[in-house]
Amino acid sequence: MGRLSMTGMMRRSLVHRRSRSLSALVALTVSAAVATALLTLYADLNAKLHTEFRSFGANVVITAPASGVLPADALARVRQAAGADALAAEFGYAVANTDRGTAVVVAGTDFAAVRQLDSWWQVDAWPAANDADAALLGQRAANFIADERSVTLTFDGDPVTLHGVGRLRTGGDEDSRVYMPLAAFTRWTGVGPSVIQVQIPGGTATVDAALVRLRQALPGMQVKPVRELVEGESRIVDKTHALMYGSVLLIALTVAVSVLATLSASVLERRRDFALMKALGGSQTQLMGMFLMEALILALAGVAVGFVVGSAAAWVISEENFHTATLPHVSVLPLVLLLNVAIAVMAALFPVRALRGLQPAALLKGE
């Protein structure tokens, strides 16, 4: 009987004062939604930022020692040691003469891999994958080539004719080089790949771990991090992370306190109910339990709606900014639940404590 009347009272209380329950529910939903959205974004932040830093290209360079060459299966070993999400491209270099007799560095590489790795390369057109004698001409190198359509290069007295598909602009060393497919390059010069550039997504710790694995996989080869990239990336990601952390705390705290203020005001308003129930023989504990239950129900409903709304908000923000989706993280749920329940409990308990000393008779008289 006691249990039944409790649920009955609860339902009445929530339904009867519909507008007030609704505004409390909205407040708790907002706090849950904000917490969910920010925590979801925060959980994904590092991965997303590291993805953006991929545009800087290779952060590890593997070079064959001056006298030696890279092992034939070097690229496969690199891919295995560096992990599935690492990008790698191999390069072979030789000095050849152009049709005007100028010495130029010719690099053999895999265009498909380079296109992924070095996204900042500005080219007129990328060569087709099946084009065995395509060439990209660096913008400075192109000035020393008479015929840019059919480029004749001579290496060690051995000429080769490539068809130039376009110019390459980077503002770096690449501008002074001619790039061609690796297979044709090796066939022509007899020189194999001597450098592998690797892009390992992640901060200093991840890159360091990968460096150790790469050195084990390729003994005798020089494995060097590109220091400015690795350090810069870690620093910027860490700082952005700290900034987001500060923002998340600040916003969550603000919303929590505002919601707390609103809720406790609306509980305080019900001192008449409180007085009446006390006059009818309700004990302090019973009344507290009653207020608590009501607040908890609202808090749980707020979390349920807020999680959906917040996850959607995180998805939109992430899609808008990073152009990749952020899926809902169930792992943020406990924290959001904890926050909301804490708000609800405090909102229910503060006013009850304040009302404890009051005399029901005085309250009911309207004092």
């Binding site: 007030r20 505004s23 909205v26 407040a27 907002v30 939604a33 904000v34 920010l38 974004l41 997303k48 930022l49 953006e52 830093f53 545009s55 800087f56 290209g57 070079t63 000095v95 100028t102 130029v104 560095v105 900042w120 390369w121 500005q122 400075r140 020393f144 980077t170 503002g171 770096g172 060393d173 501008d175 002074s176 991090p225 220091r227 400015e228 990239l229 350090e231 910027i236 700082k239 700290a242 900034l243 987001m244 500060g246 923002s247 600040l250 916003i251 705290l253 603000t254 919303v255 306190v257 505002s258 919601v259 203020a261 609103t262 005001a265 609306s266 908000a313 923000i317 900014n321 309207g366």
Partner: protein, 441 residues
């Protein structure tokens, strides 16, 4: 009468006013802090991105082709062309001169030298600025290679550019070279000067090592000298091989990629007056005779994306904060009015018009919003400055208070507070006063 009511309401209902006030205060604090951070994040991240080095490179237009593999000159070019060091001060006169944050000229030379032990060695040297004023003006940018290469790690001190004059200089050497030749700080060597003007051979020149630098690239195998010293040793007065320039730029968009020479005069003007890397490079080409300037795409393109992503994130989170704070504040205002239904009922039964009551309530709300909003603005600005200083290196030039934010934040607080209390005021005014007065009795 109206003002008395207004004043009494603030004095007598201190607790209620405080609740609504705290909600507004916290909301504006959070919003101000987020907006202040979002507006400065671009500059801050740009400073951090400086670790990636120069985003514009300048070299002679008539340059021969570099034959470099992995940073090493495979076939040292003969009869190189050079820029004039004396032309570099013109960088301080271009339209976007203030956006140039670093300039580092380079002059690679080959050094034949005798070590203190009498051993004859061949070294590859690099002439650089270390701490050099760009122009002779008092407020000139003081810049050099260390500023553009923050990842270089130095043991000892950078060479002084004035020490020694024409008879010697200071230098730092790369760590790989130092261990190969067993050189340490304090050692010195004597380079052979060129025989160009007959008596040069008789002159003795001593280079003293003041530091050992580790860079992680080919510079580890080189000797870094002040540019003036490299020009003497190389016999190349006033010569500079290439110049790295670091500039604050606007991320590239479709307009930036246009060829300025094909634009209409008006469009050309707009293009020229925007700090794109391309337009700054264009202005450098105009200012320095015989120079070719290019953006370093690896740095420039990637920096643009990173900058856009991080500041975009901050703006979106600020928007979320704005929305959440708006909700919280309007909920608090709604509750505050809801609580005072009896008061409204009483005033109406005493003959106050709906308009007068609404005006009273709005005046209260507005006053509260302006007061709490201003305090919140101060708190928020302080918080943002503190957070920014904790996370980013501060150079002391940033103002804590952004005056533009004050009206924005206070206006937002006003709008949200008024919007939040309107439904409750309307609802209370619609109900018959006797119903309100009776319902709780």
């Amino acid at each position: 009468m109206f003002f008395r009511l207004l004043m009494e309401s603030f004095i007598r209902q201190r607790r209620r006013k405080m609740l609504a006030g705290i909600a507004i205060l916290l909301g504006t604090t959070a919003v101000t802090a987020m907006l202040a951070l979002a507006t400065t994040i671009g500059d801050r991240i740009h400073k951090e991105l400086a670790v990636y080095g120069a985003n514009i490179v300048v070299y002679p237009k008539t340059d021969l082709l570099d034959v470099k593999i992995g940073g090493v000159d495979v076939k040292p070019a003969t009869g190189d062309s050079y820029l004039h060091e004396s032309d570099l001060k013109k960088l301080g006169t271009i339209f976007w001169a203030n956006n140039i944050t670093g300039v580092s000229p380079e002059l690679p030379i080959n050094i034949d030298a005798t070590t203190a032990a009498g051993e004859s060695v061949k070294l590859s040297g690099l002439g650089l600025w270390f701490h050099h004023a760009l122009t002779r003006d008092a407020g000139s940018l003081v810049t050099g290679a260390p500023a553009l290469h923050p990842w270089w790690r130095l043991q000892g001190t950078w060479p002084s550019e004035t020490a020694g004059g024409r008879t010697g200089s200071e230098a730092v050497i790369g760590s790989a070279l130092a261990s190969r030749l067993h050189l340490k700080i304090g050692d010195s060597f004597s380079p052979h000067l060129p025989v160009a003007d007959g008596n040069a051979m008789s002159q003795s020149y001593t280079v003293r090592i003041t530091g050992i630098v580790s860079t992680g690239d080919n510079v580890d195998n080189q000797v870094l000298l002040p540019l003036a010293a490299a020009q003497i040793i190389g016999g190349l007065p006033n010569a500079v091989r290439r110049v790295d320039v670091s500039a604050r730029t606007k991320p590239e968009d479709a307009f930036a990629r246009k060829n300025p020479d094909t634009l209409s005069p008006q469009e050309h003007e707009i293009w020229y007056c925007r700090p794109y890397a391309n337009s700054i490079a264009y202005q450098i080409r105009e200012a320095i005779p015989g120079a070719q300037a290019e953006q370093v795409r690896r740095v420039e393109q990637s920096e643009g994306t990173i900058l856009a992503r991080i500041s975009g994130l901050m703006w979106l989170v600020s928007a979320a904060a704005l929305l959440a704070a708006g909700f919280a504040v309007s909920a608090a205002m709604a509750t505050a009015v809801l609580e005072r239904r009896r008061e409204i009922g009483l005033m109406r039964s005493l003959g106050a018009s709906k308009g007068a009551i609404a005006l009273l309530f709005y005046a209260e709300t507005g006053l509260l919003a302006v007061l709490a909003g201003t305090v919140g603005y101060l708190f928020g600005s302080g918080l943002a400055a503190w957070l920014g200083a904790r996370i980013f290196a501060v150079d002391g030039s940033e103002a804590v208070l952004n005056p533009v934010l004050l009206p924005v934040v206070v206006a937002l607080a006003l709008i949200v507070a008024v919007a939040g209390s309107t439904p409750s005021i309307r609802a209370a005014l619609l109900v018959n006063p006797s119903t309100i007065l009776r319902e709780d009795a």
